[in-house]
Amino acid sequence: MAKHETPLLDQLESGPWPSFVSDLKQQAEVRAKNEAGVEFQIPQDAVEDLLGVLELSFKHGRTHWKHGGIVGVFGYGGGVIGRYCDQPKLFPGVEHFHTMRVAQPCGKYYKTDYLRQLTKIWDMRGSGITNMHGATGDIILLGTTTPQIEEIFYELTHNMNQDLGGSGSNLRTPADCLGSSRCQYACYDSNALCHFLTNNYQDELHRPAFPYKFKFKFDACPNGCVASIARSDMSFIGTWRDAIKIDQDAVNKYVENDAAYPANAGAHKGKDWGPFDIEKEVVELCPTKCMKFENKTLKIDNSNCTRCMHCINTMPRALRIGDDRGCSILVGAKAPIVDGAQMGSLLVPFIEVNAENDYEAITEVIENVWDWWMEEGKNRERLGELIMRQGFQKLLEVTGIEAQPQHVAYPRTNPYIFWKEDEVTGGWERDVVEYRKHHLR
């Protein structure tokens, strides 16, 4: 029988979707039975008490968790988040219930052996509850006590070669898509760049000195499978500078509805959508109308292509990304806290992704941005909010990047730019007499 009655939580199990309440109940039962003979290092009934305190929070309409505290293991200023319950007598199993963040492998490639090792440590030294994965992208281990933190860290680092992730005012655990390890659309090796920057910025990851959190995310192509444009302060999205590669024979196979050339690589096969129509499904859906199909030939005006990926996704055997590949850097995305939610703004339209010189072009941009934000950012101000406060032009100044049409949201309708005196030939001074010769009052 359950330790606490949870009628309000039970309702959450009644809907059509999988419920975390059912998961917690299952875990509470596993710990109670302990058929695996685990030597629990935190209270065996921690999960039951977790359900109890959550039920009480629902009943009272307010939280019973206190805010913050301990932050890490020796030498680290992040990776552990202190959590304490404000009803320890009622729920002693969760009196101390700290969270640990563990850096996930690039591309989230796991061996089953790795996952078994991880859960074995966590079943013994923590609650056994995991969040795979947190919003940042890392492995979240929910619920342990202070004495267990160093023990867990020792086992992770020494037995699994595994580091903690970021929390607090640190660089957060960088996250990436599968990239060129599995994907034909990848414009750069997102796994390699993510891994390099994670190692290169260990100090920023583990020792807090930023005004607030800072997130990197890596999408190897504009399809954006990790949604870096919305989820990170600095987003690296793969792109190309030359033309989309076209195989005209393959285009015509799609048009002829050849069974070996299913639209969208067969992703929508479950339903009969009728024969493929290149005009309706590709040409007319191009956001910049830069394509046409005439006389069995597909033409693309690449100078007007915005790399939306729609045509390539629809006819992957006929169209390929270009060969001159790199990435765009966007900055300032965030969830709504101070200002509203923001998507990233394009800072660098194209930058080379070169492992041979340790990505020096990219690290230069990163460090210029950090220097500015650390100097000018208010406490708890995200990069996107600083950009809003001081202006995108200030960001261009501190990064030494010249204003380009790609920086303007709607360059064809609003090309309005503030120029500075030293950027204009002749400055602000003018010869009024000379002017009046040509322009009558």
Partner: protein
């Protein structure tokens, strides 16, 4: 790096004095507050020195999970008071 920041003992004392002076009102400080003590130094240099003070046991971190602050070791509310050893 300024003379004050490059002198470990003097820098430590300056940080301790700064925090002690303000301890009536607050026990936790944002990283940016250190700029008041070392106005001529780059924040990334200040960071190295301040984090060394944490390792040496002069300062300690406090974090809400989203933001991290610094305090004098043993100052303010401690997790010992949460019933933990």
């Amino acid at each position: 790096m300024s003379e004050l920041l490059s002198n470990k003992e003097a820098a430590t004392q300056a940080v301790v004095d700064f925090m002690t002076k303000k301890s009536k009102n607050k026990s936790k400080f944002y990283f940016n507050d250190f700029q008041d003590i070392f106005p001529d130094d780059k924040l990334r240099d200040i960071k190295k020195v301040v984090n060394k003070m944490v390792t040496d046991g002069v300062l300690e971190y406090w974090s809400s999970g989203s933001t991290t602050m610094y305090g004098l070791k043993g100052g303010g509310k401690q997790h010992g008071s949460e019933g933990e050893a």
